[in-house]
């Protein structure tokens, strides 16, 4: 695996069920995502975008194939570590369509939970969290509960949470689906900036074609395989 690559997937297969009811969702997908790259993942509904993301995120177990995350081969026809959750909390930041914040924790606690689990001290993790929250312009809401924030504010907290453990990889599943155009552009630009500034590989699932010009590359699920293409040029958003 080259130094540039952050995610490398080879011959990945995922099927649900067995025997007659067996359904192949992904059948022999191979692709890479580099550090500092923001990649859009597109496909029709039900094509397996979330499933693919969850396999890369070590949540959903593939049927066969190989997955590299950074220098570590995490999957080769089986998980190569028992502690997939450790990989998740140390290497990966997740962002979803909904914010999925823990309702009984306030904003800063939501952001510091994973770093503290990783062994960071309370002061250090809170300092870092405050930087992130300030960066996203919600530092003044640090001690509010998610229920007291707007949807857009919560989504920004969720992004701060995904970044708090300084991940190598960010997996974002339709992060802009619940936002208006202006905020969507804001979030994607933010992801792009994070990719560059923190040298993170970002895969973002989106149904919104208007977001594509902001990305570096497009991955498309077609015939149960993943193909890579360049972004359409000349969008007004750029």
């Amino acid at each position: 695996m080259s130094k540039k690559q952050s995610i490398k997937v080879q011959n990945l297969v995922k099927s649900f069920g067995s025997g007659d009811s067996r359904v192949d969702i992904i059948d022999g997908a191979s692709f890479e995502v580099n550090k500092g790259e923001l990649v859009a993942l597109i496909a029709p509904s039900g094509a397996g975008k979330t499933t693919l993301l969850m396999m890369i995120g070590c949540v959903e177990e593939p049927t066969s194939g190989t997955i590299w995350l950074g220098d570590e081969k995490v999957y080769e026809n089986k998980w190569l570590t028992k502690e997939t959750r450790k990989i998740r909390r140390e290497k990966i930041g997740f962002i979803f369509q909904a914010h999925y914040l823990i309702p009984f924790l306030n904003v800063i606690e939501n952001v510091t939970l994973v770093p503290q689990t990783n062994g960071l001290s309370t002061e250090e993790s809170e300092k870092k969290a405050m930087e992130l929250l300030d960066y996203f312009d919600i530092g003044d809401k640090a001690h509010a509960k998610p229920s007291e924030l707007s949807g857009g504010q919560n989504q920004r907290v969720a992004i701060a949470r995904a970044l708090a453990n300084t991940p190598e990889i960010i997996l974002a599943d339709e992060p802009t689906a619940a936002l208006d155009m202006e905020r969507s552009v804001g979030v994607v630009k933010m992801l792009k900036r994070i990719a560059i500034e923190q040298n993170v590989a970002v895969i973002m699932v989106t149904h919104d074609e208007a977001m594509l010009p902001l990305c570096d590359r497009i991955l498309k699920i077609e015939n149960k395989k993943v193909i890579s293409s360049v972004v359409p040029k000349g969008s007004h958003l750029l």
């Binding site: 998740r88 997740f94 009984f104 939970l113 689990t117 949470r161």
Partner: protein, 381 residues
């Protein structure tokens, strides 16, 4: 590290406290039940302690005078004195009678004793107003909880009695209020029948009742003598059943209230089981309510140990709080019970241990749910 249990509880504090109070009331009732049992034990021994005699002589082959009916001749109290080691003796009667209290008729136990005898049945510490019996007729000393005032009068049998003294904390072995009357009055009440009954009996050729019977003769033993030995010699010479104070206590606590205590014991056990099930159900639903959050935490990589710690801490805190509420509740209401309820610290500790064990067992259900939670489920649907 953030304490998740603390955060979760303070997020839904009111609900948590109300739940703990509900379980606490259940535990309070468990404590009261145990207290009722302890109260029965204390009541059973109260009269024995007040009289503080060494031996009880009753009708042969009976467990009298409390657990069995017993009749012995009154003059046995004199012949007993001839036995080596016997110090003082007294003839006593015990009978259940209905008395007209100021509010309503009440069942009490009347203790009859000779006011001029060697043993005074009314202990000085118990007498809070007035005096003991000083005449051989128509005077009565009553428990304060019957509601009589000094100088009031009451109808017993064919005669009117005057209240001359009031005692506190005196109960029969069954926990009923006690009244004291003279032996002669007691014999009249117990062994003399109404005129109609006497006429009837005469017509049938039966002899009238023998007024010179009592239920038991009690005796104290001179110091330096072995109670068991003196009791054995009374048994040998007088052909009576003789019980030492300890044996009488055993009869009262074992024979008399054994079944009642089994009844209460079983009821308490069921309550404990029900409380355990309720705690388990609460923990289960509390965990179910958090399934979404638990899935999210698993998804973002929080290890099971941290999530399980949250569930177990919440369960233990619930159990602990419920225990505190239970104790407070039982102490608030125990004095409202008509019979004695004795709340003892060791019983509370035992319940505490049971509650903690129940909580730990219940938390296993939550832990099982945590382990089986699917992180992918967080984003499904």
């Amino acid at each position: 590290m953030i304490n998740l249990a603390k955060k979760d509880i303070s997020h839904t504090l009111g609900k948590f406290i109300v739940t703990a109070m509900g379980v606490g009331m259940l535990l309070g009732i468990v404590l009261i039940m145990i207290g009722v049992y302890r109260g029965m034990l204390v009541d059973a021994e109260a009269l024995l302690k007040d009289l503080s005699v060494d031996v009880w002589v009753v009708q042969e082959n009976t467990l009298g005078p409390f657990a069995d009916a017993s009749r012995v001749p009154e003059d046995l109290k004199n012949t007993l004195l001839a036995i080596d080691g016997v110090d003082k003796t007294a003839a006593l009667t015990f009978q259940n009678i209905q008395i007209p209290t100021p509010t309503k008729p009440l069942r009490v136990v009347a203790l009859g004793f000779d006011p001029f005898g060697d043993i005074n049945a009314i202990s000085k510490e118990r007498l809070i107003k007035g005096r003991g019996l000083k005449r051989s007729h128509y005077e009565v000393v009553v428990s304060d909880n019957l509601g009589f005032e000094l100088g009031e009068s009451m109808n017993l049998g064919r005669n009117i009695y005057k209240v001359v003294g009031i005692t506190h904390g005196t109960v029969s072995s069954g926990g009923d209020p006690l009244i004291y009357i003279s032996l002669k009055d007691a014999q009249e009440l117990q062994f003399l029948y109404s005129n109609a009954r006497i006429r009837n009996d005469r017509a049938r050729g039966l002899k009238g009742g023998d007024a010179h019977m009592v239920n038991t003769i009690v005796a104290t033993i001179k110091s330096g003598y072995d109670v068991d030995k003196v009791a054995a010699s009374i048994k040998r010479w007088k052909h009576k059943s003789v019980y030492t104070a300890d044996e009488q206590k055993d009869i009262l606590t074992k024979n008399l209230i054994e079944r009642a205590s089994k009844q209460i014991g079983l009821f308490t056990a069921i309550l404990v089981v029900v409380s355990t099930i309720i705690i388990a159900l609460i923990i289960y639903t509390m965990t179910l309510e958090k399934m979404k959050e638990i899935s999210i935490m698993k998804l973002i990589g929080i290890p099971n140990s941290i999530i399980i710690k949250m569930i177990v801490q919440e369960t233990l805190l619930l159990g602990f709080l419920a225990f505190i509420f239970g104790n407070a509740f039982s102490h608030l209401i125990y004095s409202k019970f008509p019979k004695r309820v004795v709340l003892e610290l060791p019983d509370a500790w035992m319940l505490f241990i049971v509650v903690i064990i129940a909580s730990i067992l219940s938390s296993f259900i939550g832990v099982k749910k945590v382990i089986s939670a699917d992180p992918a489920a967080a984003i499904g649907g």
